[in-house]
Symmetry: C2
Subunit: 300 residues, 2 copies
């Protein structure tokens, strides 16, 4: 089955030890969509400004990503500028944020897509996540992400979204902030009590942990010699996980594990290029061939 993602579509300016790139196509929903698109049909719901380059839209459409729920509004596209330092490529230092159109407009689903069964609420204001979710007719599988800003400023709204979600995909700092538990197993248990029954905690270069009622699991990241730009790695991971699960049409331990392995591999490609350049150019063969190498790690 297909998946509907709501989130940001942005223009990113990124500086890393490998260089500086301006106005890259970025945003939580963009990275998610490009990744999920490797596995299933993706519908992207987002708002951009008049300045958003047509070439980016054409690129997404050419990939087969549906933009019927992407609206162009008067104003500027959301822009983010960040920097990563050599000693900690896991952490982005935000230099500037220009909200632009996303300050007043929230993504709306196209009327023909209101019956979508699989939805992902990428990082966004939880009030907007809630409103978007409420505009849908009984989605069956709801995944979500968030960030420290919303944990600190909109905890109440965030808790409402959490109650409606099945899958939470957050990083370790977010899991800890949301629960005030340092130990990630305890944090996962507390998160499950807040609503979502499947918890995925991303640890960047250290891989991830996954929790359901009966399962605790862990995977390392795929080791890389060159990390050019970590922006969007988490959204890329989530895109592959949700894309794979949506395609599978069911959830069991085996499928979750496979989904997470694909997430790991997709995000390893993401960080090897600036923006979504590497994932956008990825072939099925590239993906399967790295997954095969990854599987070798665990032959013992």
């Amino acid at each position: 089955m297909s998946i509907l993602v709501m989130g940001t579509v942005a223009l990113d300016t990124v500086k890393t030890p490998h260089g500086r790139k301006e106005d890259l196509m970025g945003g939580s929903a963009t990275h998610f969509a490009i990744s999920a698109n490797m596995f299933t049909q993706v519908y992207l719901a987002a708002v951009v400004g008049q300045d958003f380059p047509e070439k980016h839209l054409r690129f997404l459409q050419k990939k087969g990503i549906s933009l019927t729920s992407l609206e162009k509004k008067a104003g500027c596209t959301f822009r983010w500028e960040g920097e990563y330092h050599e000693h900690d490529l896991n952490t982005a230092c935000t230099l500037t944020t220009q909200l632009g159109v996303i300050l007043d407009c929230i993504p709306r689903v196209h009327p023909t897509l209101k019956n979508q069964k699989n939805v992902f609420l990428a990082n966004y204001d939880p009030d907007a996540q809630l409103q978007f979710l409420d505009s849908l007719n009984n989605p069956e599988l709801v995944g979500m992400d968030t960030m420290n800003l919303w944990i600190n400023t909109k905890r109440k709204s965030l808790r409402k979204v959490l109650r409606k979600a099945n899958i939470l995909i957050v990083n370790d700092a977010e899991a800890r902030d949301l629960t005030e538990e340092r130990n990630l197993l305890k944090a996962a248990r507390a998160l499950r009590a807040m609503g979502p029954k499947l918890i995925i905690i991303k640890k960047g270069e250290h891989g991830g942990l996954f929790f359901s009622k009966d399962m605790i699991s862990a995977l390392p990241a795929y080791p890389l010699e060159t990390v050019k730009d970590p922006t969007g790695a988490g959204d890329t991971f989530a895109g592959a996980v949700m894309g794979y699960i949506s395609r599978a049409r069911k959830i069991n331990e085996q499928i979750i594990r496979r989904a997470i392995a694909y997430g790991t591999i997709m995000s390893s490609f993401n960080v090897e290029g600036f923006g979504a350049s590497r994932t956008a150019a990825l072939t099925r063969k590239n993906l399967e061939s790295r997954l095969k190498l990854f599987k070798m790690f665990f032959r013992f």
Copy 2:
């Protein structure tokens, strides 16, 4: 085949969020020996003081660990006191160190053990590691560990030991300090150029990375809800790795991977109790049963 380990046998006082324990049996060679002993015959070479409790020696002997190369000298046993904080159980803060007898005496191998083929040089002054190694008759498999103190103060001697080692087992900070490379894949390549052809980099709660000429691999740590005392986790890991390889009598990718999986599981038990209390009480059944759960992580 059996393995000979040289290193420290110490009395540790440890404070963690789970309590404070005085005069625990500790030291790099102790943790290594107790762990390796699950897999093969261990010969322990170390020096302790007159104050070292007989009950600890009886305990090790009862386990089947050979103490023919453990010498009791006039003076005090090496003592270490450290503390771990809730927010970072990966890092030990040393409160006091009393070198005692290890200041003047270095471990010597018993004449009957000079032909040992498998040797591990646990964390120790590299000059002593070198002298110990030179007293052996052509060991075939030499594993080693070190620490930041020696990297900073005795780099030249350390490089000499490295040239004679086949396997290096260090943590991520040590790998970076030794090579001045931040990226661990680049660090591993630089370490291989220094001598040892198999490099194992431990990342504590984040698992580990493993490098040989043809293989790069990674494993997560076994996720735990309760970490009582991380002291000795690295030595326990090394003990299982070297113990398993020694028992296997050969090295290939499959054996290295299995050895590292056992190391991961053994060290997960180690941190669940103070000192070596948990590993020392471990049964084969405990070990295999957790390894089985761990293997499940990678069924995708």
